[in-house]
């Protein structure tokens, strides 16, 4: 049962009731006709209302037709259609928004897991790097220390050599001086004692004693 089929069926009726200006004019005519009826048949209505206890006034009824004939399309166009559209649109946007939010949530979940994985990766990387650095530093320290030790050894060796050389020099100079002294002493002794053979032997003994005593 399609709608268009019926609408075409009752043509003239539709022509009157779906045409807004015609409807408005008809409504106004009915309203004024109602006032006319109400004014001219007042006594009849009063009689009826007196008889049945219900104050009926058919002029008002006729005018009501007119009022409703005008306000039905007016209210429909002015408010109810926009309201229905707004409610439908809002519902569809809400559904859409919920779908989008769901999508975003899934995306976020994905991004979060990715981020976490990357974080773990980065941490491992960093640890590895730190370890490598530490190892390098330790190696460097080792080499530096060994170099320093070598150098120190070298310095010590050179110092000992120098000390040795100095001492030897000093010893020789002392020996010559001692010999000179001894000679001068011997001169004195010779001046007193002419037994040179024996004296020289004494001196040499003395020197060897000095050498031993050193």
């Amino acid at each position: 049962m399609s709608e268009s089929h019926h609408e075409t069926k009752s043509g003239p009726f539709e022509l009157i009731f779906n045409n807004l200006p015609v409807r408005t004019v008809l409504g106004l005519v009915l309203m004024f006709g109602g006032s006319y009826v109400s004014k001219n048949y007042q006594e009849v209505f009063e009689q009826i209302s007196h008889q049945y206890g219900v104050p009926v006034d058919l002029g008002k009824t006729v005018a009501t037709f007119g009022v409703f004939l005008i306000i039905f399309p007016l209210v429909n166009i002015f408010f109810i259609k926009p309201l229905a559209d707004a409610i439908g649109e809002r519902n569809s946007t809400l559904e859409q928004t919920f779908g989008e939010a769901e999508d975003l949530k899934v995306q976020m979940q994905k991004m979060r897991s990715e981020y976490e994985a990357r974080l773990v990766e980065t941490e491992a990387d960093a640890r590895q790097k730190i370890e490598a650095q530490i190892k390098e530093a330790q190696a460097l320290r080792q080499t530096l220390m060994s170099e320093a030790a070598q150098r120190a050894d070298e310095l010590v060796a050179r110092a000992t050599q120098e000390i040795e050389a100095e001492r030897n020099r000093v010893l020789t100079s002392i020996r010559t001086q001692v010999v000179d002294l001894a000679l001068s002493a011997a001169e004195k002794v010779i001046a007193e004692n002419m037994n040179t053979e024996r004296n020289r032997k004494l001196v040499e003994d003395f020197i060897s004693q000095v050498e031993v005593a050193r």
């Binding site: 049962m1 009752s10 309203m31 006032s35 219900v54 009926v56 009824t61 009501t64 209210v75 519902n91």
Partner: protein
């Protein structure tokens, strides 16, 4: 009523016959007043309509009304009931606004038989129009004739009787619709004035304490008028039932998304 009448003299100036009933000009004034109130509210409610979430309180009320009437239409009339929402909602708003008007003013459009009879005639006329549109003229007449009894003798004897009864009931639908509304509103007025008379000696308007009950009556009468109209429409246009389930599921979904929207507001 007297204490109201004293304060609201300009509004009763249009009442031509004083206490008995309001004349044509008075009813027209009140009807225009009610319509102006409705249109002002609607114009105010249109402001927040393009937002994603409705924050306008008036618009929220209208939205709830719309959803309620849509649910009622789809529930009673069926899947094709959504196109009757506009007419039912207009009736609801006009009746409710004039009922509320009758709470605070000495007269109101719905407290008058003429206006109510007009509305009832429009409603029943619309039902006939829809019936003819759906079933065709003779199909609609056959609908009055009652069920097909099979036996020719029975059909000749009983179906005209059913036809007559149906026609009478169709006429009486107008009377019952209009008189129900009038009786409830005017009965409330009568009860209020009787109770006012009770407290006249001690200057206590007992009738004013009836206002909560009368407010309930306002809602219920507007609801019943639209509900009966939707039932009458469903009686003349019911066909192709299988679509109903699908529609109601759709409806449920929309209802749920509305609830989600509500939850988002809070």
């Amino acid at each position: 009523m007297e204490f109201l009448a004293g304060n609201l003299a300009p509004f009763i100036a249009s009442a031509e016959k004083g206490e008995e009933h309001v004349g044509f000009v008075g009813i027209l004034t009140y009807a225009i007043f009610v319509l102006i109130v409705i249109f002002c509210l609607m114009a105010y409610a249109k402001k927040g309509m393009n937002l994603r979430v409705f924050k306008n309180p008036i618009l929220n009320c209208f939205e709830q009304l719309y959803l309620f009437i849509e649910k009622m239409c789809v529930g009673t009339i069926g899947s094709h009931g959504r196109k009757y929402v506009s007419i039912l909602m207009t009736f609801w708003m006009v009746i409710f606004a004039s009922n509320v008007c009758s709470l605070f003013f000495p007269a109101a459009p719905t407290a008058d038989v003429g206006f109510n009879l007009g509305m009832a005639l429009i409603a029943i006329g619309y039902v006939q129009y829809e019936g003819i549109k759906t079933n065709g003229f003779f199909g609609h007449l056959r609908h009055f004739g009652g069920p097909n009894l099979g036996n020719v003798l029975l059909a000749i004897l009983i179906n005209p009787l059913i036809f007559l009864i149906e026609i009478v009931s169709e006429v009486l639908k107008n009377v019952s619709l209009s008189l129900r509304l009038y009786g409830n509103i005017e009965g409330g007025h009568l009860a209020a004035s009787a109770m006012n008379k009770l407290g006249e000696g001690i200057y206590v308007p007992f009738g004013a304490f009836l206002i909560p009950i009368k407010l309930l009556t306002c809602v219920v009468q507007a609801l019943i008028f639209t509900l009966l109209l939707s039932v009458y429409i469903s009686l003349v246009t019911h066909h192709d039932e299988p679509e109903v389930d699908h529609e109601s599921a759709d409806e449920k979904e929309r209802w749920e998304s509305g609830k989600i929207a509500e939850a988002m507001i809070h």
